[in-house]
């Protein structure tokens, strides 16, 4: 190009016009990623052009193909960053709400105590990285990495709105469920690998929990799928906007799903695998320092996914009734997630931990039949033509 002003290299084009645009609908994180790359890559291209005028690298940096590749990379970063911030805010919310319910002051660092999580992260980061001598090293590290990785992955898979997603696929909800159920297996591996009796028992309990709570959850998922006729999250949310939120016909399912979601994300009162009163820290006993910090982060990511599932399946996703799609549907979704998470925290403040045999009893004898009843209601409504 003859004229090499910076404006030549930085042009915010419509992402849909990009020849290699991977989606069929508008994607906001991709757009942000593309714009970021155009800013960043354009700047680099201009600088190179200043040094070596008329080179081909500059043009290559801002062409459609390269921009697309970097846009996807930056999009992943953006999605993770937003998920991370949501996560930190959830931790902050939990601390604040718990503090009020327990009649004590909660966090105090930073504005309204928001920076406490960062301080904790810094503190765990500074700690020495200790691994037990007799642990099974390979599984010890890999299981840890996979537990955290799977949790982060599944959190990133959750769409915040019709335009904020990482992949547009037909079986969206099923994949989230599948990844969500993967973690307990890895926890079992991690618990075994540490060569510690507490963590072994904790890992076994995690597996126990998964077996008894995955099935009611999937039965409830069936109810939602039957009502919508699609696995696609977008379809589910739109169907709820067109008809009514599924919490109204499936209130029973909502309650059962909420309990299952708490159990799946291993939070009090169902945090058997890390019951600190009897098992020290359960399966995390031998994971010290930043490993433990990352595990906690992964736990909260899973809690976020559980809340998001409740919101998508029963609370209308990012839509508000009568308002339709608001200008910022992502914020609506996040607000709903925080509301559901408030219930999680509330249960934690009010209830003690449930015992292993009781948890199996609740899972198989109460939640499972209720889930079947919920499914029957859904079928009846479908056959009656209400939905």
């Amino acid at each position: 190009m003859p004229y090499n002003s910076i404006l030549n290299w930085i042009v915010f084009t419509d992402p849909m016009q990009n020849g290699y645009y991977p989606y069929s609908v508008y994607n906001l994180p991709y757009d942000i990623g593309l714009k970021l790359w155009e800013l960043l890559g354009g700047l680099i291209a201009w600088l190179i052009n200043l040094l070596v005028p008329g080179n081909c690298v500059s043009t290559w940096l801002v062409c459609d193909q390269v921009a697309n590749v970097f846009a996807i990379i930056l999009m992943v970063v953006v999605i993770f960053a937003v998920g991370f911030i949501i996560n930190l805010t959830m931790i902050w919310e939990e601390r604040k709400v718990l503090g009020r319910m327990m009649d004590r002051r909660a966090t105090k660092i930073g504005p309204l105590g928001y920076f406490q999580c960062l301080a904790d992260g810094l503190k765990t980061f500074m700690k020495e990285n200790i691994a037990p001598k007799k642990a099974d090293k390979k599984i010890y590290w890999w299981a840890l990495a996979l537990v955290i990785g799977v949790s982060v992955l599944v959190a990133c898979m959750v769409p915040l709105s019709g335009r904020w997603f990482i992949a547009d696929y037909g079986t969206g909800l099923l994949i989230i469920f599948g990844l969500f159920a993967l973690a307990p297996f890895l926890i079992l591996c991690a618990g075994w690998a540490q060569n510690n009796k507490y963590s072994l028992i904790g890992g076994l309990r995690a597996a126990e929990l998964m077996i008894s709570y995955e099935i009611p959850m999937l039965l409830l998922l069936t109810g939602v799928i039957l009502m919508t006729g699609s696995f696609n999250i977008n379809d589910i949310v739109n169907a709820q906007y067109e008809n009514t939120w599924y919490i109204i016909p499936q209130f029973l399912g909502f309650i059962v799903f909420l309990i299952c979601a708490i159990a799946e994300s291993e939070r009090v009162p169902f945090d058997l695998s890390e019951a600190e009163a009897e098992l020290v820290e359960g399966w995390q006993t031998e994971y010290a320092g930043m490993k433990w910090g990352l595990i906690m982060l992964g736990d909260y990511f899973r809690g976020y996914v559980a809340c998001a599932l409740v919101v998508i399946m029963y609370l209308g996703g990012w839509m508000l009734p009568y308002f339709g799609s608001t200008p910022v549907p992502e914020l609506v979704f996040i607000a709903k997630v925080f509301l559901v998470f408030f219930i999680f925290v509330w249960a934690r403040a009010a209830l003690p931990r449930v015992r292993t045999d009781q948890i199996l009893n609740i899972g198989w004898k109460i939640l499972m039949p209720l889930a079947v009843v919920n499914l029957a209601i859904v079928i009846a409504l479908r056959m009656g033509g209400v939905f």
Binding site: R100, M101, M102, D103, K108, W346, A347, A349, A350, L351
Partner: protein, 245 residues
Amino acid sequence: MTYKYLDKYPKKFRGTGVLKPLWMTLKRMFKSTAHRPVTIMYPYEKEWVPDNYRGRPGLRFDRCLGCGICVRVCPTTCIKLVEVADDSGNMVKRPQVNIGRCMMCGYCAEYCPVDAMTTTTDYELAEFTREALIYDPRRLNFEGTNEMMEVHIEEHLLSNLAKGIEDKPTAFFDTDRPTLDASKCISCQKCAKVCPTHAITMVVVGQNDKGKDIKNPKIDNNLCVSCENCVIECPKSALKIKEVL
């Protein structure tokens, strides 16, 4: 008298057994949001303590006699008498307290006959070294000492109670006095030297075979604080504390 709690519990639950705690916590959340939570933000605000709080011991330097009762009653032996210069430059004996050993029992304040030792409301005693925990007599002074920080012994004599006298509280330093077994006394004058209140004067009671004066201690009961220094110092155990009960 009946049971207040056992009459109502145990209860039979009918499936709604978690609603009450959920409601209670929600109520408490609104309450503590509207009012202030009970937490005291410690370094910025401190809990109120009454004046009779038993913090570290305090010393009113001018009142102290240096009698050493506090040294002897201290259960952890953290008090030591050291020589320091008083305001006019004379060397006097005053207690020095090792706060690192102190268990804040308040015995030194309680047994002090002149209330020179007091309890104080000072409880922030952390230091960087062990040496800094040793409080010398001047440092033991506490600014806001008032009469509520004094601990008095108000004992009643059993003999008085038997007689029906119930309004004469006393303490050991008012009643217990050393008594002399004159046959054991060797006129060494040690008791007179160690007496912190100069209550002991040596008086001549006679002459021995060689014509020297026999001096026996004479104890001024008004000045004596029953500190037992003379009893401990006496080489022939001629002096004994006579307890009045």
